[in-house]
């Protein structure tokens, strides 16, 4: 029983860490702002969800009673991460970040970028 528990918890831990690493690699490597926004907001949330589930399962068996405290962090992150991503996308639009050269339908961005950016004079 303990062996199976250890295997499951270790698998979830390593899987979550790998997913978070993929998200961070995407953040470091992708070419422009709106593509960089994709990687960490989804991958990091999924990875931290895996790690929190692993912790929940381990301590439920370790303490001998149901332990759902980590579920609170998971739910909080799953609610707030899309809100943060939405606000970041709006901040990027306001800031007029540069798009990649070969973006499809780039002429549409001219309409979104009509305003004056905070740092241009």
């Amino acid at each position: 029983m303990t062996n199976i528990l250890e295997i499951v918890v270790s698998f979830l831990l390593v899987l979550g860490a790998i997913i978070m690493l993929i998200g961070s690699i995407g953040l470091a490597k992708l070419p422009d702002y709106f593509t960089r926004l994709h990687a960490p907001t989804k991958a990091s949330t999924l990875g931290v969800g895996c790690i929190l589930i692993a912790s929940m399962v381990y301590f439920s068996f370790d303490l001998g009673r149901l332990n759902l405290k980590e579920f609170l962090i998971t739910m909080f992150l799953f609610i707030t991460a899309p809100i943060a991503a939405h606000m970041l996308a709006k901040a990027g639009l306001q800031y007029k970040v540069k798009l990649k050269e070969d973006t499809y339908n780039k002429d549409l961005s001219a309409k979104a970028y009509l305003h004056k950016a905070p740092d241009e004079d």
Binding site: L21, S24, P40, Y58, I73, M87, L88
Partner: protein
């Protein structure tokens, strides 16, 4: 086996944190730096949970919850500042 898995996962998350720090330093614009900070606090939550698993205590849970709360509030404040030039109007 669990301690090895915990150490391995911590190593991977430390590499992820280093990549985020690189984006925080290099990042060409301010919104890029905000994304880097946002990702760093999520990674640090995972690191704290891993520390709790490694030592076998549940006492680190509250600090992880606090980091989650304050991280979201700080991201919202940064974005508000970029959007409106002011945080509380």
């Amino acid at each position: 086996m669990l301690s090895y898995a915990t150490l391995f996962a911590s190593g991977l998350i430390c590499i992820a944190l280093a990549l985020n720090a690189w984006r925080l330093i290099v990042g060409p614009t301010t919104p890029d730096r905000i994304i880097a900070v946002d990702t760093m606090y999520i990674n640090s939550i995972a690191l704290i949970i891993l520390l709790g698993l490694y030592q076998g205590t549940t006492s680190y849970y509250e600090s992880a919850l606090l980091i989650a709360l304050l991280g979201f509030v700080s991201t919202a404040a940064f974005c508000k500042y970029l959007l409106r030039g002011d945080i509380i109007e």
